[in-house]
């Protein structure tokens, strides 16, 4: 199978963690899975998880491709701010929706092209190359908005953030579409293989005939496009572009989502759907914390604790100690470390 996982057990930590976090949310808040229709739109905490998780999931889709080439894109948060700033400012100036969308997405593509050229042609280390735009990009966004929160009233643009398609919120629809397109591009063609080849060894893959600069530029451009769509969503959601805060630190959440999804930062093998699952794990925790009524001081601690467990479950060293079902097809659940001598019967 082209998903390149050795077996279904490989994905269990991610799906298991997502289900565990969702169940924990359900225990904290019994109505967690309750869904109803509100103004023709699905409404419920589970929908919130999908809806609020959409921007990071989008970033994670683009980021997965970049990380698979052994790179990283730190600029996605800033690109979100730029695309949002352009969208809100142009809408305020009276441009039509197609023009606004085209300009915002073009800005994302251009940012991706810039990163790609720095990495692929000028051979600057990705972390430094994209750091440039991470810092400068927010400044560009602030220049566009002149340091203000630029608000707009256009229902057409707002639809991207709070509208719905067949009762599904638009951010979720856009994420599914972009995920499907990306998966089709990389798995139905040889592109995915080339991306993995570049990530494993750039020189050898060049020697084997892969046009490595083109592959590298392409993944950064795609990442920029995903970030621009995410930027449009957050801007449309609050009906305003907040250049100081839009997408702030989301690059880290996106990298985290990819890593939680099991893609190695050392490049090579990648799993697109699992990265989105990673983003949903993060968002389920965020939403769960909000529903739980914990004090805000605990937010980051709870998050860090759960993530630590998920990452430990994937640790090659620790998984050696986990009980593994025998046989050719390991389908048993991977449980958190349990002492092998399972006695301890309660009175």
């Amino acid at each position: 199978m082209t998903l390149s996982a050795p077996g279904p057990a490989r994905n269990l930590p991610q799906y298991g963690a997502l289900i565990a976090v969702l169940l924990a949310n359900w225990l904290l808040f019994p109505d967690f899975f309750a869904i109803r229709l509100q103004d023709g739109r699905l409404f419920g905490s589970l929908i919130d998880v999908l809806n609020r998780g959409a921007p990071v999931a989008l970033l994670a889709v683009g980021m997965t491709m970049v990380i698979a080439t052994r790179g990283v894109d730190l600029s996605v948060g800033a690109v979100m701010a730029i695309s949002g700033a352009i969208a809100a400012t142009m809408t305020g100036a009276g441009w039509s929706l197609p023009a606004v969308l085209a300009a915002s997405l073009a800005a994302g593509l251009l940012c991706g092209l810039w990163n790609g050229v720095l990495v692929a042609v000028l051979r600057i280390q990705p972390i430094i190359a994209t750091l440039i735009l991470m810092v400068a990009g927010r400044g560009i966004a602030q220049l566009v908005t002149e340091g203000q929160i630029v608000t707009f009233t256009s229902p057409a643009l707002a639809f991207i953030g709070s509208g719905s398609f067949l009762t599904v919120p638009m951010p979720v629809v856009l994420t599914i579409v972009l995920l499907a397109v990306t998966a089709l591009l990389v798995r139905a063609t040889a592109l995915g293989l080339m991306i993995e080849a570049v990530g494993i060894n750039r020189l050898s893959s060049a020697g084997a005939g892969v046009n490595t600069p083109v592959v590298l530029v392409a993944v950064y451009v795609w990442c920029g496009l995903c970030a621009a769509v995410a930027g449009l969503i957050v801007t449309a959601d609050i009906r305003g572009a907040d250049a100081n805060n839009a997408g702030l630190w989301l690059e880290l959440d996106a990298i985290l989502a990819v890593v939680v999804g099991g893609t190695s930062l050392l490049g090579g093998r990648f799993g697109l759907v699992l990265s989105v699952v990673g983003a949903l794990i993060i968002q389920s925790m965020n939403t769960g914390i909000l529903l739980s009524g914990f004090k805000p001081e605990f937010n980051l601690i709870v998050k860090a604790g759960v993530l630590l467990v998920v990452l430990l479950l994937q640790s090659p060293t620790l998984t050696l100690f986990l009980p593994r079902p025998r046989g050719a097809r390991p389908i048993g659940t991977v449980k958190p470390p349990v002492a092998p001598t399972s006695g301890g019967a309660k009175p």
Binding site: S45, N245, L291, P296
Partner: protein
């Protein structure tokens, strides 16, 4: 070495010329005050409004205001203060970007006998004689004013959800403290949910969405108290998307007084805001003029008014503000 000489000679000449021209001005228009203002930068709409208001208030009083933008860096502010001292201005205003590290440069100003006024933020120093006065808002009081309005409006019976500012930031701590004081006085008032919305619209909306679900679809919520207007604007959208009416089904009270909340109030979607006035320089000019006139030092702290605004004046206030921010 020689280049340094040239530069310092040029600086001295420039300082002299500025000194002379300043002197000329003093003789021409009788005693036109020159004030140097080291502003933090332009990180928010409020900050931009503060700078704009400082200029307008200076014009009103015939004061010559020199503004230096520090771009969020203390080293730039220190440089600016030194340059103001070299220019021999009549007073220096500082909106300090951080609380510590001001002692040595303020000593230089003190030795040059130039009074220093702090705007909108305090500093930490062992020697309070280093500055003449500080003009700031009392953020605890802001929380109190918001709480008192809500207590009065609801007859002291209200289940409140609170959108806090960034965890650990001083306005978030103080605005919570002031509001909590009023809640403690009214047994019918209760904060049922409180979470951080990071002072942003996006987080304010996300947190409010969860609050509404957690409190029986919003039926259990009487009011939302947001530590700033931006979070309130986000919360208003969340309330609307849940099929409720902000301002009626759930009351909305917040702090800052930015134009967008006045717009929301004029549309009946918000109920009250406590203004953090951007006019910090006005009271500082008045204190300075009084000090220059009869040498009477102002109190160490000038508290700005935390005025409450409600929908009846919202439309006019919005028109008045939309260009200032």
């Amino acid at each position: 070495m020689s280049r340094k000489w040239v530069i310092s000679a040029a600086t001295a000449a420039a300082a002299l010329m500025i000194g002379f021209s300043g002197l000329g001005a003093v003789q021409a228009a009788d005693k036109k005050l020159v004030v140097g203002f080291s502003q933090i930068g332009s990180e928010s709409g409020w900050r931009a409004a503060e700078t704009k208001t400082a200029k307008a208030e200076a014009d009103k009083r015939g004061i010559d205001l020199k503004i230096s933008d520090a771009q969020q860096k203390q080293e730039n502010q220190i440089k600016a203060v030194r340059s103001f001292v070299a220019q021999g201005v009549d007073a220096i205003f500082i909106a300090p970007v951080v609380a510590t590290g001001w002692d040595s440069v303020l000593k230089e100003a003190k030795e040059a006998k130039i009074p220093v006024v702090l705007l909108d933020r305090q500093i930490e120093t062992k020697d309070p004689s280093l500055y003449m006065t500080a003009v700031t808002s009392d953020t605890v009081h802001e929380g109190r004013v918001a709480g008192e309005w809500l207590a009065k409006q609801t007859g002291g019976k209200c289940a409140v959800v609170e959108l806090q500012g960034t965890v650990g930031s001083s306005p978030a701590i103080n605005r919570k403290k002031g509001f909590d004081e009023i809640v403690a006085k009214n047994p019918g008032m209760k904060i049922v949910r409180t979470q951080s919305g990071d002072f942003t619209r996006a987080k304010g909306k996300e947190v409010m969405e969860s609050f509404i679900k957690a409190e029986n679809g919003g039926k259990g919520i009487c009011a939302v108290y947001a530590h700033n207007d931006d979070m309130a604007v986000g919360a208003i959208q969340a309330i609307k998307e849940a099929g409720l009416k902000p301002g009626k089904d759930i009351l909305v009270v917040s702090i800052d007084g930015v134009p967008d909340i006045f717009k929301a109030m004029s549309e009946g979607e918000a109920n009250a805001t406590v203004e953090l006035t951007p006019n910090m320089a006005g009271p500082a000019y008045d204190a300075l003029i009084a000090f220059k006139k009869d040498g009477k030092a102002p109190p160490k702290w000038i508290q700005t008014e935390s005025a409450l605004f409600t929908p009846d004046t919202a439309k006019a206030e919005y028109e008045r503000r939309k260009d200032a921010y």
